[in-house]
């Protein structure tokens, strides 16, 4: 569910690719692959940011001694 930690890793990867390309460390083939991967990462990152907002949930003690996670009905009603 929580995809966001991946975001940090992807961002670091993108930064690393940009650095490698800028320092011209790669062969032509690797440069192109880095460019392609970088563009894909940027797209994925931008998409994560645009991701629809997560529902607000409520964590309570379940009857079985575990926990129960359900929708939190916040009554402010405004979604954006």
């Amino acid at each position: 569910m929580s995809k966001v930690p991946e975001f940090e890793g992807d961002l670091k990867k993108l930064e690393e690719l940009v650095r490698k390309l800028e320092e011209d460390e790669l062969s032509l083939e690797e440069s192109l692959a880095a460019f392609e991967e970088g563009m894909k990462l940027a797209k994925k990152l931008a998409k994560t940011l645009e991701k629809a907002q997560e529902r607000v949930m409520k964590l309570t003690e379940g009857r079985d001694g575990g926990v129960s996670l359900e929708r939190f009905d916040d009554d402010d009603g405004e979604d954006d």
């Binding site: 929580s2 966001v4 460019f35 931008a46 916040d74």
Partner: protein
């Protein structure tokens, strides 16, 4: 002896009513200091107890709607300051103190208790920076341990939605004031920790009086926060209110809104950073391609391959154009940018002298100046030349020259 003719005989209830009227009219609400004894927290929710000192005692009652706001759990033997009115409970003919507010007195005095606990926990090292966990830069799930109806939970939800809607807010409904608050906070913090899906938890409430915030000065709460493996941001009240929770938490925010700003990044800022990286990526690949095509140019002038001039000359131009497009390429056009770049790359590969030499061709230059030989007219019999092959070069002397179709010159 009995009552005289003129003596009025009162009913019991009349006496009680008079006493009640006199007492309640003449005694204002007052503070009483005493020790609690015979404490009963009745199933109705009301508290019945006796306040006593070494000479006397005073029956007292604190109704449910009053004691729900208590920030400590009264018990026998505790010295307290109680504020209330003296009233008469008519069915029992009993006067008592109707307590509206109550706080620990003497050593239980709030400020003293606060300082004492703070010192104790500091001495134990609970506030040491070494124990502070890092707050994740980008949490997927933010747990909020607070009242489900207070301003705090609304503030956190509002800020997270505005800044970083991809984060999931999980509210953990918890009483934050009153007698049951400390235990509730302890349980909620432990529950979030055990659940394990929260990347960070905010523990707090909006501002209030020192009594309202008192649960956050509870030792058990402090220890629960300390024990949590999930990073905890304490967010109690407004700026001026420091609590023990603030000291023991991994980070302290002045308000719940601040806490939310602290735990989630700003989406706009991130989007800007990503756009900037995308721009640098395109600029970098453009510069790599340009560098490669420059190299082709250099080889070409050095060794003079008979590459079709149009191909080589057009190439630099095309690389520029393609790289420009790559620069413009929004993320949706990655595939086509890639295709164009692939084509440019394969042309570059074709043009790369190393590839040509590898296919068995040779480059010829005149010695010693190494100027390229483009036509037979540039050499004569006996000219010293350098012949470059894929794996090296050899120097030679021209023995004879033949033009195309065998024409001798």
């Amino acid at each position: 002896m009995g009552p005289g003719e003129k003596d009025r005989v009162y009913k019991v209830s009349e006496v009680t009513a008079d006493v009640k009227a006199v007492l309640e009219a003449s005694l204002p609400a007052l503070w009483v200091e005493g020790e609690i004894s015979n404490f009963v927290h009745h199933s109705s929710g009301h508290m019945y107890f006796t306040l006593k000192d070494d000479k006397s005692q005073l029956s007292s009652v604190m109704f449910k709607f009053r004691n729900a706001r208590l920030r400590f759990t009264p018990e026998a033997g505790m010295k307290v300051l109680a504020w209330g009115r003296i009233g008469v409970y008519e069915p029992a003919g009993k006067y008592q103190l109707y307590v509206e507010r109550m706080r620990p007195a003497g050593v239980g005095d709030l400020a003293a208790a606060f300082e004492k606990l703070k010192r104790k926990l500091a001495d134990e090292g609970l506030f040491d920076d070494a124990h502070k966990k890092a707050i994740p830069a980008m949490p997927g799930t933010v747990a909020v341990v607070t009242s489900p109806t207070g301003a705090a939970v609304r503030d956190v939800i509002r800020v997270v939605r505005a800044r970083f809607p991809a984060a999931r807010v999980v509210v953990v409904p918890t009483p934050v004031q009153g007698a049951e608050a400390p235990e509730g906070l302890v349980r909620s913090v432990a529950m979030v920790d055990e659940w394990g899906e929260a990347d960070v938890m905010i523990v707090g409430r909006g501002g209030g009086s020192i009594e309202d915030l008192w649960a956050f000065n509870d030792e058990g709460v402090a220890r629960a926060i300390f024990a949590a493996k999930t990073p905890v941001v304490s967010a109690v009240g407004h700026e001026v209110d420091f609590t023990i929770s603030d000291f023991v938490a991994d980070a302290r925010a002045a308000t719940p809104s601040n806490a939310a700003e602290m735990v989630v990044p700003d989406r706009e800022e991130l989007a800007r950073a990503i756009r900037s990286l995308e721009g640098r990526l395109a600029a970098a690949v453009r510069s790599v391609l340009r560098g490669r095509s420059d190299r082709v140019e250099r080889y070409r002038s050095a060794y003079v391959f008979r590459l079709p001039r149009t191909l080589v000359e057009g190439l630099a131009e095309r690389v520029d154009e393609l790289a420009h497009r790559a620069g413009l390429a929004t993320s949706g056009r990655v595939a086509s940018a890639r295709q164009r770049l692939e084509r440019a790359a394969s042309e570059l590969r074709l043009a790369d002298p190393a590839h040509v030499l590898a296919r068995g061709f040779a480059a010829v230059a005149i010695l010693p100046e190494l100027s390229p030989v483009r036509t037979i007219r540039e050499v004569g019999v006996g000219s010293e030349i350098r012949v470059t092959l894929a794996d090296g070069a050899l120097d030679a002397r021209v023995a004879s020259i033949a033009g195309k179709r065998g024409r001798r010159s």
